[in-house]
């Protein structure tokens, strides 16, 4: 081994370790493994159901033929069924009634055994044929419905969503604008021309690893697991590396903005809320919104919510529950906040401003923004940009502590 070889050995080793270090497995791996252990192996189940289907199909034919025989006058010959016959019997020879008595009882017994073994749900699926025809299991259908429902309510309607035909149809049925649905063509493997892509099993197979490590590295919501898993991913127009870099800078800016908010003396926050703000977990639009509200009224941040199902803290929190600090949140305060936020222009106009009552009885205002969270709206505070006397956050609004883009 010469120095030349060692150089490339070391180069490859470093590249592999760097790439591997960027991989952070989900924390629910053990739960997923246990869930798989608790459910039958899909292939075995599929094989069993296929076998049962064949068996019940044959039994059904037998039953129909037997019914025809029972209804026929005694001694009448009936057409021969498609069942194995003894060797040597002529194919066109009609089966006599006496022959069928030996088949009737086994056929009925077979049906009963199948009904007991497979259960009513499996039988209805086998005979109904709806799921079998579409290739979707009830679990997959449920996850698909969940994902479509989440997208329809949480993803901005101005965002173009790439999806397979079935998912696009489901989204259109839920009122998502058809003009913003990008139906993925079979065989297309280039970068999706969209802001969000719905990674169903079909889409994952179509794009392979290009999705996770190239076109759409960030998952903002996840439904189900295994083959029925559906990931809602943000498309990185400039590639995964540029996206991750921008995301890192954005999180730094959000952390700085969160720190400024907390040190402004205009907000009251619980320990949990403080941790989320200081970790940069809060959507930049929310930070600006809270700063705007806090500039006028002292505000209590009761809690944050909605980071997307199945992704933990990986995706910014897009909703906040606000209350008037030191007072019960009354209708006048709600009206004032609503009036203030409704004057905002996109992207700072919330999709939801709602007065709600928490289980504790406290009245709060829920402010929510649509997914996906934009990146680069705010940039980190730079001391040189602040005029003398300018505090980290004041009544002049959010732009004193960070710059909105």
């Amino acid at each position: 081994v010469n120095q030349h070889d060692l150089y490339y050995d070391e180069r490859l080793r470093c590249a592999l370790h760097a790439a591997a270090d960027s991989v952070e497995p989900d924390r629910d791996g053990l739960e997923r493994i246990r869930a798989r252990l608790a459910t039958p192996h899909p292939r075995s189940a599929a094989g069993l159901l296929a076998a049962l289907s064949r068996l019940t199909g044959r039994a059904g034919e037998d039953l129909r033929a037997a019914t025809a025989w029972l209804l026929a006058p005694p001694g009448t010959a009936v057409p021969g069924p498609a069942v194995p016959r003894p060797v040597g019997r002529r194919r066109d020879r009609p089966i006599r009634a006496a022959d069928w008595r030996t088949w009737l009882v086994p056929a009925v017994c077979a049906l009963l055994v199948v009904a007991v073994a497979a259960g009513p749900a499996s039988l209805s699926r086998l005979f109904g044929g709806r799921h079998a025809a579409s290739g979707a299991t009830p679990a997959a259908t449920a996850r698909s419905n969940e994902a479509a429902g989440w997208i329809a309510t949480q993803v901005s309607r101005s965002t173009v969503v790439s999806c397979d035909p079935a998912m696009c149809q489901a989204l259109a049925a839920r009122g998502f604008p058809a003009r913003n649905l990008d139906r993925l063509q079979p065989g297309a493997t280039g970068p999706p021309a969209a802001g969000v892509i719905v990674a169903t099993m079909a889409v994952r197979q179509q794009f392979g690893g290009r999705l996770g490590f190239g076109y759409a590295p960030e998952i903002i919501a996840r439904f189900g697991s295994g083959n029925s898993q559906i990931d809602i991913r943000v498309v990185a127009a400039g590639g995964a590396a540029a996206y991750r870099s921008a995301l890192g800078q954005d999180q730094q800016a959000r952390t700085a903005a969160g720190r400024d908010l907390l040190s402004s003396g205009r907000v009251v926050a619980s320990a949990q809320v403080r941790r989320q703000l200081l970790a940069g977990h809060v959507d930049s639009r929310l930070l600006v919104t809270i700063a705007n509200v806090a500039a006028i009224h002292l505000v209590s941040i009761v809690a944050f919510g909605d980071s997307g199902p199945g992704v933990g803290t990986g995706s910014p929190l897009r909703a906040v529950y606000l209350a008037e600090a030191g007072h019960a949140t009354d209708a006048a305060y709600t009206r004032a906040v609503r009036a203030l936020l409704r004057t905002e222009n996109p992207p700072y106009r919330p999709t939801l401003i709602q007065a709600v009552r928490l289980s504790s009885g406290q009245r709060v205002i829920r402010v929510e923004f649509a997914a996906p969270s934009p990146i680069g709206l705010i940039t980190p505070f730079r001391a040189a940009d602040v005029h003398p006397g300018g505090g980290p956050l004041s009544s002049a609004g959010p732009t004193l502590s960070y710059h909105t883009g």
Binding site: D5, R13, A15, H17, A20, P25, G209
Partner: protein
């Protein structure tokens, strides 16, 4: 694989009183345990490195996690056979490599990071890629790589040499 130090082994209720190589700790901890406890111990120690290994092989974290979870399920099912041996990790590793190979066969290879080295590695035939990943990321010995890939040591040497030659050639033209 990192060395385990003194402390509780998560989820097993057992205590490691002195630092020793992780594999050795694990084997001693696993001996005599039931499948569920062993699964937890194996998961605690090896899940993340195995997902990273699989991600390097398949180029997709979700698919890598699926492959590794499948492997853990397989180990759980085979625990009766494995429990008295020190082959739990080797078996797990082999399952991961096999399942990753299956993923690549169905979905095609993908690059984990857009670096020249990884792109070159992704373009290699699957066996060469596996041999290089197991050697340069897994830091495995030739025999361990052979066991993980289910091939002989001679074949490992051949795949490694061929793969490395291709990587050098590609990187020399694209430094």
């Amino acid at each position: 694989v990192t060395a385990a130090g003194p402390g509780d082994v998560a989820g097993t209720g057992m205590h490691v009183t002195e630092a020793m190589p992780a594999g050795a700790v694990l084997v001693s901890v696993l001996a005599g345990q039931d499948a569920d406890s062993a699964l937890t111990a194996l998961y605690t120690e090896h899940y993340q490195p195995l997902v990273r290994l699989a991600a390097l092989l398949v180029g997709d974290v979700a698919a890598a996690q699926d492959a590794v979870q499948d492997a853990f399920v397989a180990v759980h099912g085979s625990w009766r056979r494995l429990r008295d041996s020190d082959r739990a990790l080797a078996y797990l590793r082999r399952c991961v490599v096999n399942r990753s190979r299956s993923v690549v066969r169905h979905q095609g290879p993908a690059a984990l990071e857009p670096s020249a080295e990884i792109a070159t590695l992704t373009a290699l035939p699957p066996r060469q890629r596996e041999a290089l990943v197991l050697r340069y990321y897994g830091d495995l010995a030739e025999a361990e790589i052979a066991a993980a890939m289910g091939i002989g040591r001679g074949a490992v040497r051949r795949y490694t040499a061929q793969g490395m030659a291709a990587v050098r050639s590609a990187l020399e033209t694209d430094p």
